[in-house]
């Protein structure tokens, strides 16, 4: 393949911009013809994260930020899991007195809020922050400082929620905090305000990552990675990011309206003064349903990466899978009312949403059949990541089936707010997202750490998780059909739900132990695992072309892509592009559709300002639950930190 194939024989230049009032282009050493050792020295000096605490706090390396995100999200998973364990102990028998109703309300709210906003969304986005730049063959994510900022906002929002919990000030109104329960009349104190501002924090963070991901995929793909050669995982993250962009503003509007009603006396949700309580539900679920797909779509991307690597063939129906992702992303916006069937909506409206809820099963079904076909036609090698994919198939399909059941209004009315619904959404969320995530952890851990996790412990982990999960959640379908409502802190012995609840709690304990084993396997693998090498699974996408863990600059030279599984197509030698500067953080900007090389652009250098900006924004949010004037006082520090962030400092990266 010649360079003309990649660059395209065409004139992409506008009238020569160099004629304007520009400082002359600085020349620096290029990688062309440079030997590997000096290339590594140059690039390492240019791209490394500075040492020391100040350096660590200034890091803009997508891998460093992603690792922090992953670890933080894992900590929140453990905390949210402990909430669940506490609730299961309380419910393990009738009328246990371990936890009172007030604490129980905080527990299930914190469990939901933590799992949805502090674990599930951040961890799928964090995986994307780590993998997307590697998979598209670039050196850093787009807008690296925005990415760093997003992490600081996220961690401060999470800390805010959990410190509130420690102070007995945690939200106690459920993870979706319906008015009027969360409104000024029925939720005195600051608990609902904590919910509202914590939501705003985490959504700011999530939106920032979504924009950075979209631009990375659009503009930073390696030469030759035209739309038809983008890996499925990257497609999944792209579609997810678009869903985030159009869904997350809805929850920010909801939480802002709520805090305005509570703080300055607006009446948006107050029916006595011309507002409407149901408006809250519409706005919340306009976000809340796509949210499910924000968590699920990246997981399908992970499955689409794991299956070809172990089936030993490219994915069957690549185009069909991409189109399914689009279809699911679009349809996810047409389902929100099915969360509101019990509110007495007009029949025609309810029927429309029943139809669209059933329709989304079609593209999801297409995905499942494409994966099965890939496995059918391949020569599957059963390793731990693939086991978790099988677990995903089994559990997610059951969750999908109860989903189709719940899409029908009469059934939904019957089981609304019972444990049947609790069982359904845990099957969908844990089956659809956590099992693929665990598979992904085993699959990409060698890339991130350079070491393998234990296969034997991995199998134990899988079976413990699979059995524990089903033991904990399958009986919830039954107890829900028997009429046990969700969000009750106890139940009388006469109802006869004691034994099944004890069984559920035992399953939950087993499931919890599977995570203890997983944590052990992670730590053990990181410290003592066998060395992984660049490509332990002999997989085909670009993240496996570089060392494990990847160097700060990701690739010594930007790869040139010739196939959907580039490493399988080019077994002898990887085609690469040359000509970038090595003394400045230069990376390649390419065209959106064909990925023709277009611009050598500078990527941002490390900076402490994103942290300072996050502190200013976080302080403002925190203060604002006490007085609306916080927005006025907070404006000055926010403005100062943002100017500090964007003002050029005279690095080579700021020139040109």
């Amino acid at each position: 393949m010649s360079s003309a194939d990649v660059t395209g024989d065409r004139h992409i230049q506008e009238p020569d911009p160099a004629k304007g009032d520009l400082a002359p282009e600085r020349e620096g050493p290029r990688d062309t013809g440079m030997d590997d050792a000096s290339l590594h020295r140059w690039l390492e000096r240019t791209w490394r994260t500075p040492s020391g605490i100040f350096g660590a706090l200034s890091s803009v390396d997508h891998k460093v930020i992603a690792r922090r995100y992953l670890i933080t999200a894992f900590v929140f998973l453990c905390l949210g899991g402990l909430n669940a364990v506490a609730m299961r102990i309380q419910l393990s028998g009738p009328q246990r007195g371990l936890i009172g109703p007030d604490l129980y309300n905080q527990l299930f709210t914190m469990h939901g809020v933590t799992m949805m906003f502090l674990f599930a969304v951040p961890i799928v986005q964090a995986t994307g922050i780590y993998l997307v730049p590697l998979m598209v063959g670039t050196r850093n994510i787009a807008f690296p400082r925005l990415n760093a900022f997003s992490y600081w906002i996220y961690v401060s929002g999470g800390a805010f929620a959990w410190v509130s919990f420690a102070l007995n000030m945690a939200p106690d109104v459920g993870w979706f905090a319906y008015v009027p329960l969360s409104g000024p009349e029925f939720a005195s104190g600051k608990r609902a305000d904590v919910w509202a501002q914590m939501i705003t924090y985490t959504e700011v963070s999530s939106l920032a990552v979504a924009v950075a991901t979209i631009v990375t995929v659009f503009k930073q793909r390696a030469p030759g990675m035209s739309l038809d050669k983008i890996p499925l995982y990257v497609w999944a993250m792209l579609v997810t990011s678009f869903v985030v962009v159009f869904a997350m503003p809805a929850v920010m509007i909801t939480s802002t309206f709520l805090i305005l009603d509570r703080l300055v006396g607006t009446h948006i949700f107050n029916p006595a003064e011309g507002g409407d309580a149901l408006l809250f539900q519409h706005l919340f679920w306009f976000f809340g349903h796509p949210e499910v797909y924000i968590i699920f779509l990246p997981a399908t991307g992970m499955v689409s990466s794991i299956i070809p690597a172990f089936a030993r063939r490219p994915t069957f129906g690549h185009l069909g899978l991409v189109l399914s992702l689009f279809a699911v992303g679009l349809l996810s916006f047409g389902l929100w009312v099915h969360h509101m069937f019990a509110t007495g909506l007009p029949k025609l409206g309810a029927s429309f949403f029943t139809a669209s809820s059933m329709m989304i099963a079609i593209p999801n079904g297409v995905q499942i059949f494409c994966w099965l076909a890939t496995l059918w036609d391949g020569r599957p090698v059963i390793r731990t990541p693939l086991l978790f994919v099988f677990g995903f198939f089994f559990i997610f399909v059951i969750g999908g089936l109860t989903g189709v059941m719940l899409a029908s209004v009469p059934l939904d009315l019957q089981v609304h707010d019972t444990y049947f619904v609790v069982a359904h959404f845990h099957y969908v969320l844990i089956g659809g997202s956590v099992f693929p995530l665990l598979g992904a952890a085993y699959f990409w851990f060698p890339k991130i750490s350079g070491r393998m996790m234990s296969e034997r412990l991995g199998r134990w982990h899988f079976w413990l998780a699979f059995i524990g999960f089903n033991a904990a959640f399958f009986p919830m379908h039954l107890v829900g059909l028997w009429g046990m409502p969700r969000r009750v802190y106890t139940y009388p012995a006469e109802l006869g739900w004691g034994n099944i609840n004890l069984f559920i709690s035992a399953g939950a304990l087993l499931f919890f132990l599977s995570f203890v084993l997983f944590t052990f396997n992670l730590v053990h693998g990181a410290l003592k695992g066998t060395s992984a090498g660049n490509n332990p699974w002999d997989a085909g996408t670009l993240e496996w072309a570089t060392s494990s863990p990847p160097p700060s600059y990701n690739f010594a030279r930007i790869p040139v892509v010739t196939h959907i599984e580039p490493l399988w197509a080019e077994r002898e030698a990887l085609p690469v592009a040359t000509g970038l500067r090595v003394d400045a953080r230069e990376l390649l900007i390419s065209t959106v559709a064909e990925a023709y090389p277009d611009i050598r652009e500078k990527s941002a250098t490390p900076s402490i300002w994103p942290l300072l900006a996050a502190l200013a924004v976080g302080g403002t949010f925190l203060y604002s639950i006490f007085t609306p004037w916080a927005i006025v006082w907070g404006a000055a520090p926010i403005a100062i930190t943002l100017i500090g962030w964007f003002w050029p400092k005279g690095d080579p990266e700021d020139q040109e």
């Binding site: 011309g274 507002g275 990887l574 690469v576 592009a577 040109e656």
Partner: protein, 201 residues
């Protein structure tokens, strides 16, 4: 893994304007999410307006004049904004500096008039839900206006320093032009909703 050189990037330029630049796409992304926020806030207004037959809840009509003046200022500002865009693409320093000063002033002017818009709504945010929605819509747009004017002023100062002689800074000017169009464009439906929708009923 062994490597072989297959493409040469050394001749590529170091910056590009408009859709060639990642910053342009980032700006577009933020417009998309902020635009969604505007659309949902407007949707919430319409939802309430259609839910209540007595809308606007027997409140007095807002005085549209301050809002109309802001609208006229916005529309007029689009002309120098796009002249500025042309010079930014040519990386021409003197006209860009003049254009940025003009655009800073044309940003401050509607902000001053905006101050008089709030009392002209003739209702407080805590009177009823109609008042709340007017303040929310106007407040949401004002936040965008303040942010963009602040951004324009900082960029103006920057272009008067030595850092201005850089293709990427001229690209930033182009993106600033782009974002101002967005601020103007989002105002039109909000203007109609705040001042003219109550007159329909």
């Amino acid at each position: 893994m062994k490597q072989r050189a297959a493409a040469d990037l050394s001749g590529l330029p170091t910056f590009g304007h408009g859709p060639r630049s990642p910053t342009w796409w980032g700006t577009l992304g933020f417009m998309a999410l902020e635009g969604t926020g505007f659309a949902l806030a407007a949707g919430a207004y319409l939802y309430l307006a259609l839910s209540w037959p007595a809308w606007p809840l027997s409140a007095p009509q807002p005085n549209h004049w301050p809002g109309t003046i802001v609208t006229i200022l916005f529309v007029v500002s689009l002309v120098p904004n796009h002249i500025l865009h042309r010079y930014a693409k040519q990386c021409s320093m003197v006209p860009v500096r003049i254009g940025l000063v003009v655009m800073s002033l044309l940003g401050i002017a509607p902000l001053v008039v905006r101050w008089f818009e709030f009392p002209a709504l003739n209702i407080y945010w805590d009177t009823n839900a109609y008042g709340s929605m007017l303040w929310v819509l106007l407040g949401l747009h004002t936040t965008h206006l303040i942010t963009d004017v602040g951004d324009t002023i900082v960029l103006t100062v920057l272009m008067f320093t030595r850092h201005g002689y850089s293709g990427r800074r001229f690209g930033d000017v182009g993106d600033n032009v782009f974002y101002w169009d967005f601020v103007v464009l989002t105002w039109i439906p909000i203007y109609l909703l705040i001042y003219w929708a109550p007159r329909l009923g």
